[in-house]
Amino acid sequence: MRELVIPVRKGLIRAGRIIVMMAVVVVPVSGIIALLEAYLVLDYVASFFQPVLKHLGLPGETALPLSLGFFVSFYASLGAVEALFLTTREVTLVGVMVLIAHDLFAECAVCRLAGWSFWKPAFLRLAVALSCGALVNLACLMARWGG
């Protein structure tokens, strides 16, 4: 049993780092979204993106977690999703897309370092994410899940 002390401690330290990363991102994002929502900016953004996101079966305000997830950070998107009021289906759809394509700048840089390319993963992941979003939306429509 005592031998587990080291891995448990390592796990907690890694968790601590992730929690700090999350706190630095999620807390401000939640604050900003609360403000955007109160000052009706969110409604404006939502109506602006609604025509496009309608094809993915998502409300306009999901433009925020989606763009945050793609271009800023996975945790920012998480914070945005928490701060908005979305149904399970909508969160799942956002999750599917953001999980495929997130932290694009940082992760594409890592891909470049590992020996591949920077732009290929960026375009690939965005394309796959959006197509999977459309496909899952179609599946949801056929299975008549939410709307």
């Binding site: 031998e3 891995p7 390592k10 796990g11 807390v27 928490e82 799942t92 891909c111 020996g115």
Partner: protein
């Protein structure tokens, strides 16, 4: 208090509560993963990953980076890939195909649990991610091998 500050404070507090909830999920998960690493559970899983690696037309050596990336995240996987290149196990083609898979499908336990905690369905997310990664990587392998043959 100034209404703007009140709203901001409410939002920030909500964010803190979210982080606390997410912590309760992430901490045990990472401890479990470290313990699993301590008991070399990964080596046993590598055997299970063999059919996947074969499907992607990748050599046996690609199984470890693939698993590590899928379980621990893209940075860990990329580190293993870079090491494999330096040591010569994997060629450029293998790296390209592996990268396609890994870039779409990495960090599964953490990502799925976190989004699951905010209300998504993890089964759907997992299935879509793995399937799309497999399709994309298999296609990449096909195109790479074909372009070599046609030369």
């Amino acid at each position: 208090m100034n209404p703007l500050l009140e709203i901001l404070a409410g939002g920030l507090l909500g964010g803190l509560k979210s982080v606390l909830r997410l912590t309760l999920i992430v901490a045990p998960l990472l401890v479990i993963m470290e313990v699993a690493g301590h008991y070399r559970a990964l080596d046993r899983l590598v055997g299970w990953a063999a059919p996947a690696v074969r499907f992607l037309r990748l050599p046996r050596e690609a199984a470890m980076p693939l698993l590590v990336a899928a379980l621990f995240g893209i940075y860990s996987g990329a580190a293993l890939m870079a090491d494999a290149v330096r040591q010569g196990y994997l060629r450029r083609r293998d790296i390209a195909v592996l990268s396609v898979f890994i870039s779409i499908c990495h960090g599964l336990p953490e990502d799925l649990l976190l989004f699951g905690a905010v209300g998504a369905n993890p089964v759907i997310m997992l299935a879509v991610r793995v399937l799309s990664a497999a399709v994309a990587a298999r296609l990449a392998a096909y195109r790479w091998d074909r372009s070599v043959h046609l030369r």
